[in-house]
């Protein structure tokens, strides 16, 4: 086995030093009644070439971009990833390093994550960002728990226009705690209806997603004012498509206290939903109640600038059960990928790319409307939107699938009241010709 360097001679010499008769003798401290009697029933090892063939076959049994035209977003977006991101990420010094506990020989990771924190703050308009959470969903759950820690209240509210799977994760995290999560309704325009907010009592935090699950851009500035009518309630802005902030007002500009969401769009492959990137940022005054690792700038003995893990007294390895979260391993490499991607994109690039995503999606929206398929919602959208199709669209959808076109996500399992609606997404990977083809097929 090529991963195991031990020769018979090595083993013999080493056993002699250790004083064990054979390899089995190394495990003498394990009582007999704890020893596994039967061998593990594992397959014969595959050579590198056999593995390639086997994995090629499995991967071929997938219907993925680019062989399929996928007009589906809903929390996972197909964006182009430049080759430099893929290759730079494979630099073994970054790729095979552990958490940077020894800063002198981890400055590469540390400066990268410091840059990540900075770019995330700039993207979201926030003061402090952590080094990442697992994904958009667990990030939101941790944000809502954080509002409870900050405000010492027992109830939070989340919009029903937040990704349904994120809300499920929030429910899971809250289930054993005794704290309450209430849901805010969606208005006719596709935005969150905050008119019932004042009847909900003392809330530690209120979360909206923008663009929300329906692709609608929430009026965050107005929402923030309503939510902050109770000065003790924290305003949490979630997102699943951070590219939108290349052109929209950032959560920070709109008054958010915490901004958290999924960063997969920023240079990370979809990979069937993971690994993604939980982006998490907050205002300065909440720094010490934030979950997750933080990298800070400092100096070495000679006064030279360097970076270290810092404020660890919030974290589990120091505070144990009193920590702000149990998170240890995060999504470091995904944060690294997103830093490379955001650097390649730059300010000029992200503005253009963000616009192109919206403009192409708007083109599809307008083309479908012209063909008689309108959106039930009037609020402006970014790169995805809801369309109402007449009865029988399921068949059309199946027919399109045969042609390797995935015509959006049926909303029926998530929102029974929208059972005749589909959520469609257009990114820069779908061009005008693809859109024209989809509209033509749908109208057939």
């Amino acid at each position: 086995m090529r991963y195991l360097p031990h020769t018979q001679e090595d083993i013999k010499q080493m056993l002699q030093v250790v004083g064990a008769k054979d390899l089995d003798g190394l495990f003498a401290s394990i009582p007999d009644d704890c020893r596994r009697k039967e061998a593990m029933n594992l397959p014969e090892p595959l050579t590198e070439w056999e593995l390639n063939r086997h994995m090629d076959q499995l991967a071929a049994a997938m219907g993925a971009a680019p062989t399929h035209k996928v007009f589906m977003g809903a929390g996972s977006y197909h964006h182009y990833i430049p080759e430099i991101t893929r290759q730079l990420l494979l630099r073994g010094e970054l790729f095979t390093a552990y958490t940077p506990y020894q800063p002198e020989i981890s400055q590469g990771t540390l400066q990268t994550i410091y840059e990540y924190q900075t770019l995330v703050c700039r993207l979201l308009g926030m003061d402090v960002a952590n080094a990442s959470m697992y994904d958009g969903a667990s990030g939101l759950a941790e944000a809502m728990l954080m509002t409870i820690r900050v405000r010492r209240r027992k109830k939070v509210a989340v919009s029903r226009a937040i990704h349904p799977l994120y809300r499920k994760v929030v429910q899971t995290y809250f289930a054993p705690t005794g704290f309450e999560v209430v849901e805010l309704p969606v208005g006719k325009d596709g935005r969150t209806d905050l008119s019932t907010l004042k009847d909900l009592g003392e809330l530690a935090g209120v979360a909206l997603q923008s663009p929300n699950f329906f692709g609608c851009i929430e009026d965050l500035t107005a929402a923030g004012k309503i939510i902050h009518a109770d000065s003790k309630t924290l305003f949490v802005v979630a997102f699943s498509e951070p590219l939108a902030y290349g052109m929209l007002n950032s959560p920070g500009v709109c008054g958010a206290d915490i901004a958290c969401g999924e960063g997969q769009s920023m240079g990370i492959p979809q990979s069937f939903g993971g690994p993604g990137l939980g982006m998490f940022a907050a205002r300065q005054q909440y720094l010490r109640t934030m979950p997750g690792r933080l990298i800070g700038k400092t100096v070495d003995r000679d006064g030279k600038t360097g970076f270290v893990l810092t404020l660890a007294t919030r974290e589990q390895h120091i505070r144990r059960e009193k920590a702000t979260s149990n998170i240890c391993s995060n999504q470091g490499l995904c944060a690294t990928a997103s830093t490379m991607y955001m650097a390649a994109l730059g300010g000029t690039g992200i503005r253009q790319l963000s616009r192109l995503n919206r403009d192409r999606a708007e083109y599809l929206k307008a083309s479908l409307a012209k063909a008689g398929y309108a959106s039930p919602f009037s609020a402006p959208t970014f790169n995805e939107f809801v369309v109402r199709f007449p009865g029988g669209f399921e068949d059309t959808w199946e027919r399109l699938l045969e042609k390797k076109i995935v015509a959006g996500l049926h909303l029926s399992p998530y929102y029974p009241e929208l059972s005749d609606c589909w959520l469609l997404c257009v990114t820069e990977t779908i061009d005008k010709a693809d859109i024209d083809m989809l509209v033509k097929e749908v109208a057939k």
Binding site: Y3, C34, E48, H54, A137, A175, G274, I295, C328, G347
Partner: protein, 484 residues
């Protein structure tokens, strides 16, 4: 004597990203604009983020230079205790980046996802076989996420029994994530003191276990690198009071094919695929923390579950007792692909992996114990724990020893953990290291022990070779500067 591995070479200073570039540059190829610009309510539109504008080569050089300041398993031996820094096979990267996997949308219809679903189903089976706990979820994104899932299962199980419980027993040698995960589920963490041999004594558990205690969390082998040889008795005590036993599988690399974890009384176990199963740590993650349970607890696992029917796979949410979802989709699937590739490549040799990991640790322990203090002098598993007791006489501490190792070209071991050992130096070589590399490491450690006597200041002033010297962590925490 052989030449010391550590040396200096030409590395470069590199400014922060936003100190480079020039407005209007771009490092990415943008598709051509083929549609008109659509108007949008001006009140919603912002300026866009203040990102620096860089060319493609600017970005390439930036991260290449940064990578040269880092040390990874690809650079050299990384004996970080408790972290299992084994070789991360290159072929795994090829497999995870196959377009069929990397480009897969998680909400595709099942008939377009058969490849990945069958891989995940088979990985569950393999992990079930390795641990002896046959019901497996792959959803948790990291070890502590697995612990959280395990604690959610504890809570759901006792609730289903009709009597929620409020406490969880946790040995004082445990990783900090254990009490933090228990607390996140509303449990009170009760510390159990380990016995004089560094392992749990059944009497200590019996004295604390009651019918308001949901169970116990045990890391086995424990963080001292010792096998908890009373595990069966401890499990019996806990089970008799209606409790459950949680196994922290962070140290599974020591016992594959040696111990059937399910058989010794563990009910719930998480694995760290980024430790035992060779997936890269990536400077902090992503990992994956699958949870394996007994058939009796299967109903509580997160949804969706993967179901196999007549050679077809589908995702099923209909498990009313499930703890729910812990990840938006199905976990860190890209990491699962790498771990699967590793297990299929190593196959039945996995037992040798554990044997060589334990052989390597015992070899180091034996060859260093005359110069470094060994608090528990008994056969260890995959890691061994020394202290700085002998070196303290010369005012040399664990930190100095660790920093000096860098000058020799090695990553330091885990230091000052476990907390129950003062000045701990926790060494986990893994099976990846050859005898020659171990000998070089041992030579370096022995030289450092000698230096502690002859030139303590050489150690206080180390490291000398890396890009930066010891950093002021107090300043970083007192005046936090977290962005530029």
């Amino acid at each position: 004597m052989k030449e010391r591995m550590g040396t200096t070479g030409l590395i470069f200073n590199e400014p922060l990203l936003w100190e480079k570039g020039s407005f209007g540059r771009i490092g990415i190829s943008l598709p051509k604009r083929d549609v008109d610009e659509a108007p949008l309510d001006k009140q919603l539109v912002g300026d866009g983020p203040d990102f620096p504008d860089l060319s493609e080569l600017d970005v390439v050089r930036h991260f290449t230079k940064l990578s040269q300041w880092n040390f990874g398993v690809d650079s050299g031996m990384y004996p970080l205790g408790s972290c299992t820094m084994k070789y991360n096979p290159k072929t795994n990267e090829r497999q995870a980046s196959l377009p069929g996997f990397a480009g897969a949308h998680p909400l595709l219809p099942e008939r377009l996802s058969q490849g990945i679903l069958s891989l995940m189903f088979e990985l569950q089976d393999l992990l079930g076989e390795i641990t002896g706990l046959p019901a497996v979820t792959l959803q948790p994104a990291a070890g502590s996420h697995g612990e959280l899932t395990g604690m959610l299962i504890f809570a759901a199980y006792h609730k289903h029994q009709g009597k929620p419980r409020s406490k969880v027993l946790i040995p004082d040698t445990a990783h900090g994530t254990n009490p933090a995960s228990a607390a996140l589920c509303g449990f009170k963490a009760v510390a159990v003191q380990s016995g004089p041999n560094g392992v749990l004594v059944p009497e200590a558990v019996a004295a604390l276990m009651d019918e308001d205690t949901a169970g116990i969390m045990i890391t086995n082998p424990n963080t001292l690198g010792l096998f908890e040889d009373n595990i069966r008795q401890v499990a019996d005590i806990v089970h008799k009071k209606g409790g459950l036993v949680y196994g922290d599988g962070a140290n599974m690399n020591a016992v594959m094919g040696i111990v059937n974890v399910g058989e010794v009384g563990v009910d719930v176990l998480h694995l760290n695929l980024h430790k035992t199963f060779s997936t890269p740590h990536g400077g902090g993650g992503p990992g994956a923390g699958p949870v394996c349970v007994t058939p009796q607890l299967e109903a509580f696992l997160p949804v969706p579950r993967i179901v196999k029917e007549k050679e077809r796979y589908r995702l099923d949410d209909n498990y009313p007792l499930s703890v729910g979802k812990v990840h938006a989709f199905y976990g860190n699937v890209g990491i699962l692909i790498r771990a699967y590739s590793y297990i299929r490549s190593v196959g039945k040799h996995l037992k040798e992996v554990s044997q060589y990991a334990v052989l390597n640790a015992n070899y180091i322990k034996q060859r260093l114990k005359d110069v470094y203090h060994l608090p528990y002098d008994r056969p260890c598993m995959h890691e061994c724990v020394f202290t700085d007791k002998h070196q303290q006489a010369h005012h040399v501490a664990t930190l100095d020893i660790a920093k000096r190792l860098m000058d020799h070209g090695f990553h330091p071991p885990t230091i000052y953990f476990p907390l129950v050992v003062s000045g701990a130096i926790m060494i986990e070589p893994t099976e990846s290291e050859s005898k020659e590399t171990l000998d070089l490491f041992i030579d370096a450690m022995r030289q450092i022990a000698q230096e502690a006597e002859t030139c303590p200041d050489c150690l206080h002033e180390s490291p000398q070779y890396p890009k930066v010297r010891r950093l002021d962590e107090t300043l970083a925490a007192r005046k936090p500067c977290l962005k530029g």
